[in-house]
């Protein structure tokens, strides 16, 4: 028998649960029903470990033997060794579930029968791997013959976890993580040069003696009276005692065996060769030779002789917890958490007939949820969408997808989708509506918009268009609408997420986004991956899976700088727990060390960086040394120096940054400083070296004909919608009276109390959405939108410059309409039909004719996109036959669309750190182009912070940093700490904890995954991660409710006690809302503050607030 089995690599698994999603989808499993599951485990060192559990397909299956039915309802295939349930014979008694010691038997609680992993026989019949193995972003699950797995593991030198404690001969192969956590000594030390035991012995001559020739300490049992003083005396508790013979016993290094030239018995048998025997000096010499660290155990100055070699370990920056049972996230486990799904819309694919729903065709496309923009295949049975998998034909992603892509099946089959236009009949916020026809809805909205324009002017209409709507809607349909209407107040979620990095890229490189690609020869060839405020494993899991895989293959290092030991940090070699908001200090100190130690790439700096010397002199002058940065960042100076050395010396370093750097009031300067570090070490414009801050913005930005554009009479109030609230409430600097929101501002705008107040003050709120949410409740009209394959669209901007096309494949539910249709119809009623033409309701036509008319995208036509079975083209592509460029800005190359020889698309063709022009721009806002350190106003230690000098109700100045629409901004000044700042005042009021917000694990993305039951099943409740020390001080146990309060509001969440976070900090994720169907919680944005914004980019600080935490009443 060739036993088939899965091989699960615990090093490569990072807990995204994509395999779980794939299994449920493949087998139509419902809530609470599992054939596999990824369990999150804490580790004593503060990191996270993951265990993917599925049937072990044992040679002696305990489940099978426990089955009381005859013939058995569980059988083991003699040919493949696969153990499977015969559901036609299973009576659902559950004995197999009880019997499996691995708890790998599932149960269908509604169908009442056992379910289990059968390694997907239908897929195997089609020469496909089991669903879990097919989608795994980390390539942690592989499928094949057990012997082949073992051979591969041996070949790669990987350790196989022995799980056969129960002698059931499990077939699944688990590969141990490659590095071990810190452990405790196995044996106590000895024999000592100054043995305490010997000295304590009251007998004379001593009953314990030390051999002067060998140093061995031994008990003379013939003289020992058994008083036990020696046992008491040994501080290492290494003295034994014979309770029957009544005398001391101890290790004497087996003199009889030594006499026969054998090592002591323990050393002779040790399977791991962990114990070796010889002269102490030889041990020490060997340890030194192998570069191993020797544990110093001579705290008592007894000069112990035994040599302990430290385990190879991950370096963690926080004190370790005492070893104990592994901790699991604090979520109510099934069945309590499952109960919410009963009768509450656990929709398709649950419960479908698998045979009847076997797909008969697959259409390639993409996932429209997040910034990874995975390619997928949509599987149909007839006209019904029945499955979504990764696209194995994609040469880059190769079938990897995260759970979210698979969950979109629950987007397209969801009873909670908005299906009809609705008009408010109750008060704002009440959520009472009546159904109305589209014609009436659009006619009335158009009429009310005209009334607003007539009374207040075109700028009184604000348009908030989130990424949910798709890039075509935001960058094209609504952009054209706003130009035709004449309002400058149109914005998306960028000011909450990414404007800081976009402006930093534009200033430094001349274009947004990294020029590198996710290929083995580019990003895959780096020797060091440095993640700063980027939890890529949870936010772009497929990309992380690729990076992690390359890293393991190439032996590259990975370092994570993050206040939390995120999943990314858990997989890294080293975690540096930085204080939130101080990445700029770290970057400056890294640069100081690199430049002061002459570690920079002189040729690159000299040839390709403008103004680097000026920046160097500035850093030296300010004294931004590692010692200066240490107390600010919380990272010891030696660690900063070591990091600087590693970055500078690595043969290719990729610095990843993301929202952890962006969502601060120093977003632009922090990003620039990190970019500068990458640049001065030559990690720019090369393969395997880069600064990557999330997406490379897709340059879709069509303009209406000049004669049809209505030039706004006033600048945009502010770039950030958070800055629009005074205009909404008080009409300052000018009134905003109407808002069309295509997203969920009631969850994702900071400072929710004020947001709600402002929305109540508006004359008209129109909400275009997929699901009814908090914003709908405040709207006058709710319009049901279509998404993804219901409308046809381009995938989101992503790190890899891939333009992914998603065809329209199905009709939207009910009367829901594509966003483009809605804007065109509304535009037609307002006289924009000549530009927003009827034919552009077909998104593919709109793409070819309107969206790609620029040198970067001209070649990315529908024809080219459809010429490949993965439906993407990497831009820039100036013509249909232009080759894709793997790495932009290489030495000797010309930047796309630039004059020959211009390597970077900046005015100078070089990377720009400082120029007169840059300095003038910064001076317009009272700042300098040379990044000066400042942080947030709410910190536990006083630091400089930026104070905006003009309130949102004041016009301020027109920002020089925002392209296109003139935008109001406030000048700022950097306030030096004086001990009486806002942070100090908050600390006096008891706000003693740092609040960090951010993305939850991979199955969630903003609010819409909260309408997918499966995402909610995986991560149901809003949680508050807090350190065990803090939890102990507060008297909070894992899983209890806590109340978190800032100066701006308060919410409750479930405590997740987790050692992987700065002891002074707590973390609460985004995305939850009060009107979500399964596990509703208040948005974390009740705790944030809309006024704390970057003066340069208007980016809002969402990552660093002072809060106080207490146990909530149950």
């Amino acid at each position: 028998m060739a036993q088939l089995a899965l091989m699960i690599d615990l090093e490569r698994c990072f807990g995204c649960k994509s395999c779980e999603a794939a299994c449920k989808q493949e087998h139509r499993l419902g809530p609470g029903e599992y054939r596999n599951k990824v369990v999150w485990l804490g580790s004593p060192g503060g990191g996270l470990d993951f265990l993917t559990l599925a049937c072990q397909h044992c040679e002696r299956p305990a489940c099978l033997r426990a089955c009381p039915v005859h013939p058995k309802a569980i059988e083991k295939d003699p040919a493949t060794g696969v153990v499977r349930v015969r559901e036609d014979r299973c009576t659902g008694c559950g004995e197999c579930v009880i019997a499996c010691p691995y708890s790998a038997m599932g149960y269908d609680p509604l169908g009442h029968h056992a379910v289990k992993c059968d390694l997907c026989p239908e897929r195997r019949a089609e020469n496909l791997p089991p669903a879990c193995a097919g989608v795994c972003p980390g390539r942690a699950i592989s499928f094949g013959k057990r012997e082949s797995h073992l051979a591969r593991a041996a070949e790669e030198g990987r350790e196989v976890r022995d799980l056969d404690h129960f002698l059931l001969r499990p077939a699944t192969v688990y590969l141990e993580p490659m590095k071990r956590e810190r452990g405790l000594p196995v044996l106590p030390p000895g024999p000592c040069e100054r043995p305490a035991c010997l000295r304590a012995c009251p007998v004379h001559p001593k009953a314990i003696e030390k051999d002067p020739a060998t140093g061995v300490v031994r008990v003379r049992e013939d003289r020992c009276t058994g008083c036990g003083e020696c046992v008491i005396a040994c501080p290492y508790s290494a003295m034994g005692y014979d309770p029957l013979g009544h005398h001391a016993v101890k290790c004497d290094l087996c003199p009889e065996r030594r006499a026969e030239n054998l090592p002591p018995a323990c050393a002779g048998v040790c399977p791991g060769r962990a114990i070796s025997f010889g002269k102490r000096e030889s041990h020490l010499a060997r340890a030194a030779e192998e570069g191993r660290e020797v544990r110093d155990l001579d705290h008592f100055l007894l000069r112990p002789a035994t040599v302990y070699l430290e385990p190879m370990k991950r370096e963690r920056g926080l004190p370790v917890l005492p070893p104990g049972p592994p901790r699991r996230p604090a979520f109510p486990e099934a069945p309590r958490a499952q109960a919410v799904f009963e009768g509450n819309g656990a929709s398709f694919p649950f419960g479908g007939d698998k045979a009847a729903l076997r797909p008969d065709r697959a259409v390639p496309g993409g996932c429209n949820i997040c910034f990874n923009c995975c390619t997928v295949k949509f599987h149909f049975k007839g006209e019904e969408l029945v499955n979504i998998t990764g696209n194995e034909e994609d040469p880059v992603l190769q079938g990897r997808v995260c759970p979210k892509s698979q969950f979109t099946l629950q987007l397209y089959h969801n009873e909670r989708r908005l299906k009809h236009p609705m008009k408010r009949i109750g008060k704002r916020g009440e959520g009472r509506f009546e159904r109305i026809p589209w014609e009436q809805a659009l006619d009335e909205i158009a009429a009310r918009l005209r009334a607003v324009r007539d009374q207040w002017g075109p700028e009184a209409l604000a348009l908030f268009v989130g990424t949910r709507t798709g890039l075509l809607t935001k960058n094209a349909y609504v952009r054209l609408f706003s130009q035709l209407w004449g309002t400058p107040n149109m914005e998306g979620t960028d000011p909450f997420c990414a404007t800081g990095k976009s402006i930093a890229y534009e200033l430094t490189q001349g274009a947004v986004g990294s020029g590198n690609s996710y290929t083995a020869s580019d990003l895959g060839s780096a020797k060091l991956y440095l993640y700063v405020g980027d939890n890529q494993a949870e936010t772009r899991p497929v990309y992380f899976g690729m990076i992690h895989d390359w890293r393991l293959r190439n032996g590259a290092r990975m370092i994570a700088v993050d206040p939390r030991c995120t999943v990314t940090a858990s997989k890294a070699d080293r975690w540096l727990p930085i204080r939130p908001g101080t990445d700029l200090a770290l970057a400056l100190a890294l640069a100081h060390h690199i430049l002061s130690h002459d570690l920079h790439d002189k040729a690159f700096c000299g040839n390709w960086v403008l103004g680097w010397e000026r920046w160097r002199d500035f850093i030296f002058e300010r004294g931004y040394t590692p010692e200066w940065a240490a107390p600010l960042t919380g990272i010891p100076a030696p660690d900063i120096r070591a990091l600087a050395e590693e970055v500078a010396r690595a043969e290719g370093c990729v610095i990843f940054a993301s929202r952890g750097v962006n969502q601060h009031t120093n977003a632009v300067q922090s990003n620039r400083a990190l970019m500068f570090v990458a640049a001065i070490t030559g990690n720019w414009g090369r393969k395997g070296g880069a600064f990557v801050n999330m997406t490379a913005g897709l340059p879709v930005a069509p303009d209406a004909p000049a004669n049809r554009r209505v030039a706004p009479a006033k600048p945009r109030v502010r770039r950030s919608p958070g800055g629009w609230l005074d205009a909404m409430r008080e009409g300052r600097p000018y009134p905003i009276r109407a808002l069309i929101a295509c997203n969920n501002p009631m969850s994702n705008w900071p400072g929710q109390e004020e947001v709600r107040e402002a929305f109540r003050a508006l004359d008209l709120v129109v909400h275009i959405e997929l699901f009814e949410n908090e914003t709908s409740a405040f709207a006058d009209y709710v319009l049901p939108a279509a998404g993804g394959i219901e409308k046809g669209e381009v995938g989101r901007s992503n790190d890899d410059r891939r333009v992914v096309w998603i065809d329209k494949l199905i009709d939207p539910p009910g009367e829901a309409k594509p966003d483009g249709w809605i804007w065109i119809e509304l535009g037609r009623r307002l006289g924009f039909g000549d530009v927003l033409q009827e034919k552009y309701k077909d998104s593919a036509v709109f793409w070819d004719e309107v969206c790609i008319q620029n040198p970067q995208l001209r070649g990315v036509t529908q024809r080219r996109l459809h010429s490949v079975p993965w439906r993407w083209v990497r831009f820039p592509a100036g013509s249909e036959d232009a080759p894709e460029i793997e790495t932009l800005y290489l030495e000797g190359a010309t930047a796309p669309g630039q004059p020959a020889g211009r390597r970077f698309p900046t005015p100078s063709g070089e990377l720009e750190f400082w120029t007169e022009e840059l300095e003038a721009k910064f001076r317009a806002l009272g700042l300098s182009a040379l990044p000066e350190f400042y942080s947030e106003r709410e910190q536990l230690v006083d630091m400089p912070y930026a104070e905006l000098e003009a309130g949102d109700g004041e016009p301020g100045v027109v920002s020089p940093f925002h392209k296109g629409t003139p935008t109001g901004a406030s000048p700022a000044r950097i306030v030096q700490p004086d001990g009486r700042g806002p942070g100090a005042r908050l600390r006096e009021r008891g706000f003693d904890t740092e609040l960090i917000t951010g993305r939850p694990p991979a199955p969630h993305f903003h609010s819409w995954t909260h309408y997918f039951w499966q995402a909610q099943e995986m991560w149901p409740d809003l949680y508050c991660q807090l350190h065990p020390d803090k939890a102990a001080r507060l008297g909070v146990a894992d899983g209890e409710r806590v109340r978190v309060e800032t100066a701006h509001g308060e919410i409750e969440a479930v405590a997740w006690v987790h050692a992987g976070i700065r002891p002074e900090a707590v973390f609460i994720p985004i995305g939850w809302g009060e009107r979500q169907p399964f596990h509703p919680w208040r948005s974390v944005n009740f705790l944030t503050d809309r006024r704390q914004r970057d003066p340069i980019s208007d980016q809002t600080n969402l990552k660093s607030f002072l809060c106080r935490v207490r146990k909530a009443a149950s």
Binding site: L64, K72, A73, T91, H165, R169, P335, G352
Partner: protein, 257 residues
């Protein structure tokens, strides 16, 4: 993929209907003819006999499940639920509400059986599903002596199996009813070893007691009930005088034996 069967709602309706029928019956009982208040009357005698026969279907389920004869065990299961419920209703009707006599203990056992069965299906199933990945510690922390102890048991099982069923493989074997009937002592010895192995695995201990033992209690109660039912039938048939307690014997019985 999902076979049809008595779903939770159907089961709940069945139990509700059974309860409603009983409540209605006993509410109307004072107005019914005398025969409906006398368990041995022809009507209630036949009701009791029919109820007993229906309840014996569950024994048939037990046999069908363990012998592989009689068709789909799933259908037998469904039949056991249906006939068990109907049988219980008829048994209660047969009792005519006389709860102070010894046979009422059978009603108590029936109520227990029904309650356990309904709990297992409607609530225990959720717990059963939630067991998945509930014992991950077993993948992380092996007991140091466990393997040695299990090795000993395995050796003993293999030796025993060579005598009990030489053609069987230990890894996939558990004694069937046929083994129990043909070689009860060997089967018993084997079951004891299997039980010891199971104890060492600790799998049953790792789940909540309700989940771990409901079925055993259900079976034990069923066996007790069956014994009681047969005993009741024997007493009223062969020891009618004793059953009548000195009063008139008004039901069918055998006096001359």
């Amino acid at each position: 993929m999902n076979r049809s069967g008595p779903g939770d709602r159907l089961l709940a309706r069945l139990i509700f209907a059974a309860g409603a029928a009983l409540v209605t019956h006993f509410a109307l009982l004072p107005d019914l003819p005398d025969d409906w208040r006398r368990p041995g009357s022809p009507a209630l005698y036949l009701t009791g006999a029919a109820g007993g026969l229906l309840l014996l279907v569950s024994a048939g389920f037990l046999l069908a499940k363990r012998t592989g004869r009689g068709g789909s065990p799933v259908r037998w299961f469904e039949a056991h639920v249906l006939t068990g419920t109907l049988g219980a209703v008829l048994a209660a009707v047969h009792s005519a509400g006389r709860l102070r006599y010894a046979p009422a203990l059978l009603l108590l056992a029936l109520a227990g059986l029904l309650a356990l069965g309904v709990w297992a299906r409607l609530r225990g199933s959720r717990r059963m599903a939630a067991t998945f990945a509930g014992k991950v510690e077993s993948l992380l922390a092996p007991g140091p002596r466990l393997r040695d102890q299990l090795s000993v048991i395995l050796r003993e099982k293999e030796l025993l199996l060579a005598r009990l069923d030489p053609s069987a493989r230990e890894g996939t074997f558990s004694p069937t009813l046929a083994h129990w009937l043909r070689r009860p002592r060997l089967s018993m010895a084997y079951a004891r070893l299997a039980g010891e192995e199971s104890r060492l695995l600790g799998a049953r201990r790792a789940v909540p007691p309700g989940q771990a033992y409901w079925r055993r209690v259900h079976i034990a109660l069923a066996v007790l009930f069956l014994a009681g039912l047969l005993g009741h039938a024997a007493v009223v048939t062969f020891f009618a005088g004793y059953a009548a307690g000195g009063e008139k014997i008004y039901w069918w019985h055998l006096a001359a034996w």
